[in-house]
């Protein structure tokens, strides 16, 4: 149904290796992400999926390999630099400000785009006030998009888990990312919540053209919504391709179902 065009490679990961002391989290992994696509990373527990995401978002610096993002080579990155380059992420275990309202949490996503200084904001006159109005409008559009209007003023800690996940997504969207990293956006959700979340992920991709890299455990969801899938196991890449290709890949089947030796 969708007519969105999948474009050029915008993120190219070449021979990434990451180790924590003696533990090899990632070994010589290469794959790429194209503009406007939904790219899934799957794999059993401990396969290195979250580490991979942390490498992309700049939390971990790999010992080897390079990251080419929109033509720029990065060997040492940090989260702030990646964020200014338009990379936003959500967290597996939620990292929201529990005592703050939904609206305020989403507003924090606008931090990088605020231009006024702390003094101006303290007096909240002129430029600061105008700026806040603009950002508030942007956040309201996200609230409308994610259909969380009833909870606008509710402290996040009081919301059910599925909604907190949505707020987390909202905060990431507030950064107007061009690349969005989702770390298990559907973990711990029931079927209905998963359906809703899948719909939102597709809508984000469709409406804003955002490129999405996501980690997910639910195979049904992954196969339904992603364009291409990369499969990790014990820190190594064992499969890469369209959902159909991956599904028929013998290594992947072995990794997931186990194999008798």
């Amino acid at each position: 149904m969708s007519t969105r065009k999948i474009g050029e490679v915008i993120l190219d990961l070449r021979n990434i290796s990451l180790a924590f002391g003696g533990v090899k989290a990632l070994t010589d992994i290469s794959f790429d992400v194209r503009e406007h696509e939904i790219r899934a990373i799957i794999g059993p527990n401990g396969a290195g999926k979250s580490s991979m995401l942390n490498v992309i978002s700049g939390v971990y610096t790999p010992q080897q390999g390079e990251i080419i993002y929109r033509g720029e080579h990065h060997t040492h990155t940090d989260p702030h630099a990646m964020a200014t380059h338009g990379v936003a992420r959500t967290f597996q275990n939620l990292a929201l400000f529990k005592g703050m309202s939904v609206l305020d949490n989403i507003m924090t996503g606008r931090t990088l785009r605020m231009r006024t200084n702390i003094l101006q904001q303290a007096f909240w006159k002129g430029a600061a006030e105008r700026e806040e109005t603009l950002h508030r409008e942007f956040c309201e559009r996200i609230i409308d998009f994610l259909q969380i209007q009833p909870y606008r003023k509710t402290p996040v800690g009081r919301l059910p888990y599925g909604l907190q996940k949505r707020v987390d997504l909202g905060r990431a969207l507030a950064m107007e990312p061009s690349l969005l990293l989702l770390d298990e956006p559907m973990a711990g959700m029931n079927v209905e919540e998963k359906q809703d979340m899948s719909r939102f992920v597709l809508d984000v991709n469709d409406e804003f053209g955002t490129t999405i890299v996501l980690i997910e455990h639910d195979m049904g969801v992954v196969m339904d919504i992603s364009d291409r899938v990369v499969v990790l196991d014990y820190g190594k890449k064992i499969g890469d391709g369209t959902p159909d290709e991956v599904r028929s890949n013998q290594d992947v089947i072995n990794a997931y179902l186990g194999v008798s030796h």
């Binding site: 149904m1 969708s2 007519t3 969105r4 409008e137 309201e140 559009r141 609230i143 409308d144 998009f145 259909q147 209007q149 009833p150 606008r152 809508d203 469709d206 409406e207």
Partner: protein, 663 residues
Amino acid sequence: MAQAPDADEARVLALGGTTFPQLLLEHAAARPDAAALREKIYGIWQTTTWRELADQVEAIAAGLAELGFSRGQHLAIIGENRPRLYAAMIAAQALGGIPVPMYQDAVAAEMVFVFRNAEIAFAVVEDQEQTDKLLELKEQHPLLAHIVYDDPRGLRNYTNPEILSIDTLIGRGRDFLRSHPGLLKQRAGECSPDDTAAMFYTSGTTGNPKGVIHTHRNLISVSRAASAMEHLTGHEEVLAYLPMAWIGQNIFSYSQWLAAGFTVNCPESQSTVSADMREIGPTYYFAPPRVLEALLTQVTIRMEDAAAPKRALYRYFMDVARRVGERILNGDPTVSAAERMLYRAGDLLIYGPLRNSLGMSRVRVAYTAGEAIGPDLFVFYRSLGINLKQLYGSTETAVFVCVQPNGQVKPDTVGPPMDGVRIRVTDSGEVLIRSPGLLREYYKNAQATAEVKDAEGWYHTGDAGYLDTDGHLRIIDRAKDVGKLAGGAMFAPKYLENKLKFFPFIKEAVAFGDSRDQVVAFINIDFEACGNWAERRNLSYTGYVDLASRAEVYSLIRECVEKVNADLAADPMMSASQIHRFLVLHKELDADDEELTRTRKVRRGFIAQKYQVLVEALYAGRTEQFIETQVRFEDGRTGAVSATLRLEDATTFAPSAAQKRAA
């Protein structure tokens, strides 16, 4: 806003328009900058003035005309209350077309009948969900040529030739208007009050829906009479939160809106209605009993969670309210000064804040309609000082038949007939009506029209009732539902069900007993209230089915049933209708499974058939019964739910013993 209220009122009453498009033009000319509609978008209420509305209507009308929409055609309107869907209704009427509002939560398969019956080629819908439904429906109804959507979200990449956004339509309309200026004025002038203004499909507890045809004259004369009776002015605020397909919503927020010229507010979404209501503070409010029930349930739950002193205060003053609130509201002079003082203190501490949190602080007139309301529920709101009144009518009568007049509200009647309405009760007890608001006919169904409308113009309501000594109409039940127990006593299931539903833990109830020797009942628990109750008792449960089958929940429900029985025993007419056995259903009764109508009325016959094993098991005295039922999910897929239900006895009371207990 600058005008004085009286000047405004005078102006509204002087309006001479006899069709809706003409009324719109008059408002736009007389008070162009007053608010016609408000909608909350991105957290802020956005206003559309009468002038802007007229402008928008003209552009939509021009766009529709250019697409080929012409006199006599039907226009499907599907969605929540959205200003531009309202505009599209007026636009269709201006072109001599007939808007057909439909329930937005109906699935495509249910809509096919209406689309075929009314030969609908044009539809204006709210969003992607409705567009998808209509694209699916088009396969069975190829006549559907144009689908216009309001909210473009998710629809950008659709390439289907039959869909277009309302913005595009408006744009094309404006182009068209450049060569045809003054289109609205000209076409509105061609409308006659005897044209069909709108068609409403009755939800129908049996058989296929029937299209009820109302003319401009029908709807406007009824709306004017009702507005005059309640002194409605252009300053009323109304919250439009019920389906547009329900004639109640349509009369209150469309016909009366254009007749009286007040402001209609569209909530942000279905889930923000209560917050939006607090913000708007409507002055004119209407709610079917199920909404009032749900509000009461919320209040009860929140009070249960409150601290002990607050709970005690609440209980004390609610007792005061029950004693005198209703009498004070009715202007009863015999209430003692001490009681009045006490009530005033309660108003300060409890009733006022409660009205405020319900969003009813400014309510001047509130109606409940659509179904009979349980007396306990009704009195609860009135005792808080909210001028809630019952209204009697149906789709076929354009709602207003009887209204309880201010100061003379008797909870068990629906009031005297309104101006221009005549009522007759047949020997068999059926209520007949003659009114200016009576339907012209059912669409393409002369046989059904003849069944309800006789040669002299009397409409047969199918309700059993009588006029009391004050000339107030008392409705007992649907005539076909009122039965007799094997012992000969009257059995009015609705009456029992309403009594049961007053308890916050009971969401829905279905009573059986016609030609049986005793009454049995199915109960649907209120998941929210029971869930909350269970949580406070550290009772864990996995979901609806589990909670509904808990022994603790059964004993909770049994208590409710027995309280109802004690009440019934005190009423000589009803003591035979005490509920002997009951069960708690494992699934919620749902309109998607055809167990309720889209207006959430119980389809008793269908339920009796579907759950026949359960009814038989109750009468056979069994203690448990296995049942498997099909359920339909919101996306149209079906699945099965099975459970072994427990069937329990409830204590019944001898009439005399119960009287002591109740006293």
